[in-house]
Amino acid sequence: MQRIGVFICWCGSNIAATVDVERVSEAIKSEPGVVFSANYQYMCSENGQQLLRNAIKEYHLTGVVVGSCSPRMHEATFRKAAEAEGLNPYMVEIANIREHCSWIHKDREEATEKAIILVRTAIAKVKLNAPLTAGESPVTKRALVIGGGIAGIQAALDIAEAGFEVDIVEKNPTIGGRMAQLDKTFPTLDCAACILTPKMVDCAQSDKIDILTYSEVEDVKGFVGNFKVKIRRKARFVDETKCTGCKICMDNCPSKKGLNEFNMNLNNRPAIYIPFAQAIPNVAVIDPEQCLKLKSGKCGLCQKKCGVGAIDYTMTDKIIEREYGAIVVATGFRPINIDKFNEYGYSENKDVITSLELERLMNAAGPTNGVLLRPSDNTHPKVITFIQCVGSRDLTDCGKPYCSKICCMYTAKHAMLIREKYPDTEVHVFYIDVRCPGKNYDEFYRRACEQYGVDYIKGMVGKVYNQNGKLMVQGSNLIENEQVTIPSDLVVLATAIEPEPSVRKIATLLTASIDTNNFLTEAHPKLKPVESPTAGVYLAGVCQGPKDIPETVSQASACAAKVIGLLVKDSLKTNPCVAQSDESMCNGCSQCANVCAYGAITYIDKEFRLGGGKTETRRVAYVNPAVCQGCGACTVTCPSGAMDLKGFASKQIMSEVEEICRK
């Protein structure tokens, strides 16, 4: 006979104000199987947990139901408390009478009735609970970092620092990411390259870090502690181990009309190239779409000129397979496509540029060697107008509903730098709001306004059009309540950022969830901001949400801490709520394996006794409990009901249904 204890939490007044907790615990007392029923102000408090523990001891409880807040909040708390008293933690069920009851219903009578039903439902379930024990699985002591931007670099360095091996997989020919493209960084105005490139070099020099550039994750199998990852090493056509980065090939390449992606396509590069001077690895790569030899078989100049024989036109993509215990996703971002924003005339006017393009135009290593010249005629712009929130906080189909977070600050930075370098330049900024929370951020913005005389205009821009060679920026000034038109030489759009699109594929491979804006979802928005819901997968940088460099670096280091915490363990406890096949009923039809997203189900031939001394060998399903994630897809596919899910067994759910429908 089951001995169930029921504990109703007041949650201060959160529950007790709407639900008559006394009545609930009184009503529950007469339920068959219930031997103890009480209510308490805060069940999650030390005293509340002690109440629970005492009752387990005193009443020899075999099952516990706590009527409280969502199980997503405190299920683990109460399970732990029960475990401490020797009760199997999976004999504890939560009735959610706060989020699903007291907080949404106003009528006390109605809410109390519902609370009673919800608690009874949990009792019905717990009666069918079985004690579950977690299994163990070993941990591969190596981490994978996907993305070689500042987030990936920082995470890799921190993990390596702790003594674990780590691989960085970067799809571009060099690590460095977006930060490498930046000129200066806010709010200190130090040069991005100066602070980034030493970290890149550290990566290259670390004996724990293996940098796999020009590579992409192709397939991920396995689970926390035991990932098996296939990585595609794209054909570079240059032997990484031989190339010295001397650039002779680049000088000799006849096909020089390639768009220079690193410079935001503002100038050209040869078909064989090194993206930028400080690239890591400092190794050339051939663009197969552009290379004459690869396209037509005629040329081969670079091979002839290469002193070390690094060029190999026959190179093909290679797939390598490695094992990891943890994965950090740091796939970064890109500016959104703004072709659709006709009002700003980006595609018609060369002198309407994005902020990232401006970064390149101001960078000493950029297309103009750091001299600010406008693209149309290479002259100094005298009037520059910045437009904020282009595509951010935009509810139309063209833009993004979220705030890109970094634009206010980088625009202030741009404005300040221009005013500093070219004091004769007039700088206007159209903004909706200026958002500068952060250490020294608001001060930075105020300096732009007050010290550097940047003209901030609160209002939106309706139109940018070309009139006699001038870009007319027509907008509203909400403070003066007037329409203004500013004839400008250069217009800079603070373009929204979005997750690098390749993240979708990676999310699918990792079974990590993604939100409607393609940002990866963290396991908990507040309490687990760097974990993905998939165990062993962590998130760093903009792939999880818009953020600036300091935040990205913090998150990357947090990821590293999590990864290190995981990799120091020799084995992991596995989730015991996994599928299990009742072999006596299994037909071996293979339908379950077909729907398993984790490849957790295999088949074995098993001998069964039929009675009368006869036996029969049947093919039956076997679920690997370390691989199974417990979704239950297989349980519904199984026609005979042989497949069931521990912790969410069919009988338990049906029992819940029965109880809920009890009127």
């Binding site: 009923m585 037909n587 005979s640 009901g641 009988k651």
Partner: protein
């Protein structure tokens, strides 16, 4: 003896005498002309009772499951529609195709003795098929029917005369595909109002005696233990104690074979109360075709059925139920 039967028996004899197979699954003559039963033949002597006539409607594929367990190589005679069931059984690892020789045989549609009896002809002694006509001889003389009048439901709306699998074939006369639309019955119901449909099914299902013939004859129902027999399933029922149980049994039965049902029509053939069970299975088939593209279970002996498959662009349930969407 008809020509096809002659060839079949001859082939069975060869296979058994040459020991190429250990047993042959076919049909054995009954008390009358019209009641042959499925049977396993292990000797040439037994073959004297072998029969293949217009009343051999039974789908023999499912017998392979039990017979293969006993060991040995088996030759089985399968009509076109039965070959699809065979493939599904192979796909679900219920049958090892290497242990089976599939001899695909001609079928011009099988006859329904009850329909013939309803026409007032009893004591049938022989039937002869002549194109679109069937001549039924009985102790009381002979009668001529249009084939359509006396065919089994499943043959009236035969899905295909193609063999989905065949190690050998025995076909003497050309098999013509039927022009009848097998989904017209479903469509007719779909056109009704919810109330009318409910009344229709209530009338039909209230006849159910839960004899389980539909389930037990179904080649897709090969569970070691059916949920309805499993007291631990929470769904076990033995007799329709309530109209809900009739509904539930038939909903779950049809759902469990959805995507796997080849539309062999055996369920409707064997129902002692003549419940049009094929209309349940065909609704699933029709919806699957509409929502996920044409799919014929059993066309191949590998691949995924539509319920263990998906595309990112599948219709949402509300739109699917409202009939607003169609597979592109």
């Amino acid at each position: 003896m008809n020509k096809v039967e002659e060839l079949i028996v001859k082939r069975a004899r060869e296979l058994l005498s040459s020991k190429e197979v250990d047993k042959v699954i076919g049909w054995k003559k009954g008390e009358f002309y019209f009641d042959p039963s499925p049977a396993v033949f292990t000797s040439e002597e037994e073959l004297k009772d072998f029969v293949y006539n217009g009343f051999c409607g039974a789908n023999l594929s499912k017998y392979l499951v039990q017979e293969l367990k006993k060991g040995g190589k088996i030759a089985v005679f399968l009509k076109p529609c039965d070959t699809y069931s065979f493939n599904e059984l192979v796909k679900e690892h219920r049958v090892d195709k290497n242990a089976v020789k599939v001899i695909a045989i001609e079928c011009q549609g099988k006859l329904d003795i009850e329909k013939i009896k309803e026409k007032g002809v009893s004591a049938v002694t022989e039937t002869e098929e002549n194109g679109e006509e069937v001549i039924v001889s009985s102790l009381y003389g002979s009668a001529k029917f249009r084939k359509e009048e006396v065919l089994l439901e499943k043959c009236l709306t035969c899905k295909s005369k193609k063999f989905a699998v065949a190690d050998e074939t025995i076909v003497v006369n050309e098999m013509k595909e039927t022009a009848n639309d097998r989904f017209s019955g479903v469509e007719e119901l779909e056109r009704m109002s919810e109330e009318e449909r409910f009344a229709f099914w209530k009338g039909e299902l209230s006849k159910c005696i839960r004899c389980n013939a539909c389930r037990n004859v179904c080649p897709a129902c090969t569970c070691v233990k059916c949920v309805f027999d499993n007291n631990a399933s929470g769904m076990a029922t033995k007799a329709p104690a309530d109209t809900f149980e009739e509904q539930m049994f038939h909903i779950i039965r049809a759902y469990h074979v959805a995507g796997r049902c080849t539309d062999c029509g055996e369920c409707s053939r064997v129902c002692p109360q003549h419940i049009p069970l094929h209309l349940l299975n065909r609704k699933f088939i029709k919806d699957i075709n509409r929502l996920y593209g044409d799919f014929q279970a059993g066309e191949a002996d590998e691949g995924k059925n539509p319920l263990i498959e998906y595309t990112e662009k599948d219709a949402d349930p509300t739109a699917a139920v409202n009939g607003e969407v169609r597979h592109a």
